[in-house]
Symmetry: C3
Subunit: 276 residues, 3 copies
């Protein structure tokens, strides 16, 4: 039940260490508070070891990576691994620059991730060193649709097998897969792509869900799927609140508001997914 995953977060208030970009960091912090977690941002090489130690999990987002924060990602990642804390990767813009691509590869080599979340172009770039990333958005050519769904699920499962991480590919349709099972999720609204950082926010929320799950259960895949459905569902409900005059700024606020108000019953009833 997805509702249990949601309620775990609210019960446990998981403390999440974020090394993230400065574009969407405020929204990530508010989303973590909204879903029941507690955020701390820390990216200095002299700070991250201690912060990784006191937190329950780590969110690494490479959206505005730089020569100061990259070594911090490795140090924090390794420390979280030592402590067996979940670590999640959001490979923003991987494929768009050598630095992003090489950093992401090296992170995959040296840090064990529980989850990797990105759009289809990013996940392909990560898996194949190719993919046609258009900046930080997925390329239309990569879009997951009914025709390539089976192939994409298979790809996600294989990439999960290879990395040991749950793979969350989000877009019009979301795929959340481990090496064996995949959730295909159809929650969400196209207008979410007009709000900067809905991906980053989801990654932060997944971090809260898996840290909470880890201490009470073992179904990490279901926890990731629950968070992904929750984000999409909140996007749908928030969209239904919009009046003709509202645009992407109000939409951003309403999405976070809905995450704040979401309860287990609404999530279970609104979740649109199947397993494959």
């Amino acid at each position: 039940m997805f509702s249990q995953k949601l309620e775990n977060v609210r019960k446990m208030t998981p403390l999440i260490h974020n090394i993230t970009n400065y574009v969407t960091v405020n929204d990530c912090a508010n989303v973590l508070l909204a879903c029941g977690g507690s955020p701390i941002m820390s990216d200095d090489i002299d700070d991250v070891y201690d912060i990784a130690t006191i937190c329950g999990g780590l969110n690494i987002n490479i959206g505005t990576l730089n020569r100061n924060t990259i070594p911090s990602m490795f140090m924090a990642g390794k420390r979280a691994n030592e402590l067996n804390h979940p670590v999640i990767l959001d490979p923003v813009g991987v494929g768009a620059s050598k630095l992003r691509t090489q950093t992401a590869y090296k992170l995959l080599d040296e840090v064990k991730f529980s989850v990797i979340r990105g759009n289809i172009s990013e996940i392909k770039a990560l898996a194949f060193g190719s993919g046609s990333t258009k900046g930080v958005d997925a390329d239309v050519a990569d879009e997951v649709n009914s025709e390539n769904l089976e192939t994409t699920i298979q790809f996600a499962k294989e990439f999960s097998k290879k990395t040991g991480a749950i793979i969350a590919i989000t877009g019009a349709m979301d795929i959340v897969a481990d090496y064996k099972y995949a959730y295909v999720i159809k929650n969400g609204h196209t207008m979410m792509s007009k709000v900067t950082g809905t991906g980053c926010m989801l990654t932060a929320m997944i971090a809260a869900y898996i840290v909470a799950e880890k201490s009470v259960g073992n179904d990490m895949l279901e926890a990731v799927a629950a968070a992904t459905c929750a984000m999409g569902l909140c996007g749908e409900i928030a969209h239904s609140r919009l009046t003709k005059r509202d645009g992407n700024a109000t939409y951003r606020n309403y999405i976070i508001d809905e995450i704040y108000n979401l309860d287990g019953k609404t999530l279970d009833e609104g979740a649109k997914y199947e397993m494959q």
Copy 2:
């Protein structure tokens, strides 16, 4: 009268130099504009001397401190001291890492602060090198309540005596104390803790209040108390605007909106405090 403190800010438009974290910086800038001040953010070692010079006061917030910005905090702090400009410290997450704790200690040693504002765990960590900071939030074990209120007031006064700074401990109950007098403030709403950065925003607003106060009067303690009441009161009024569908994102906006609209009469009538 708190109203005079508020009106001073609107009259004088104090220019505030902020070396602050990138999580809540936008909200701090908008809060400074909302209350009648003018913000400038500058944290590079080659920039802060000049900026500290042209501003009326300095806000140092260590929320995302790093090896580049730490030396800037010292340089700007010393320059502001030379010019006799008020300097305020927000020791975000002190106690959560050695870097935060040691930086805060060293700042207390080398920079004279007019005000230090934090939650009770942060202020304890600063005073005793202990306290059980839970990330950036106060630990429940440290909570200020009616039973430990007297002790906490005494502690705040002593810490004020030791540091020479006005101490603002904020939470469910706020204490604003110098070595002699303390305001106990009961404005605010618990939901404010679900909005990232309400503490940072208050610190920025206090900076505006003390810079404005400095040029017209001498009651710095009352100015800090006025700003603290103002933030809590705006949290209360903003909360009364929320509908069932609203959450922490809309609440954030409404809090800033209320700061923008707050007038002296509303502040005087709504302020809930006693002096001890």
Copy 3:
């Protein structure tokens, strides 16, 4: 027709590389999405060459410049120049510190800008090495009004001639000029100055407009004027939505919402300008 400029942006989804300040970056990203562009933020010296290469244009904003990002501004600017991509400069706070002033001068020397946008104090500081910048806001003494309008237009045209860039001076009245023609624009609302980053947001939006214009037409001046009118008009319409309880935070959201909803017809009908 301004409407065509607006529609070009929506049709072409220009990808804009931003090296910008961390205060207003989230709003810039959402404004770029709102107007029909696509933002990517990247400021590390190892990242910017690649990102500048894949984007259609570059936005350099020195609001929180630092020793890491300054070299990135030069590298990205030169790369964009090589590729003949438009580059826009927002000289935030130039005149307020030696670092800002010298960096801006050096940028003018080494990078060819298509557009420079700032308030009157910033543009004067840039042109004369003087001007009385008050932090990041224009000094009242510099205000453009009916008495000094002719002189200011002349100044803008001359500065355009000298730099080769279109000059956009924004404030109560906006002047958008090349060496030959000037638009005097009277859209906008005074309350926009109470929202942090409306200038930064406009600069980002101008970037989207000129990148889109470049690939279909040649009237770059009209494209800059269209974006400037659009921002002012959205400020007017957004202001008309405000209730008594709303303040600068809600206003910020409504401004971005209006940019999201703006269509060509509304822009053409609402634009208030004359050419000189």
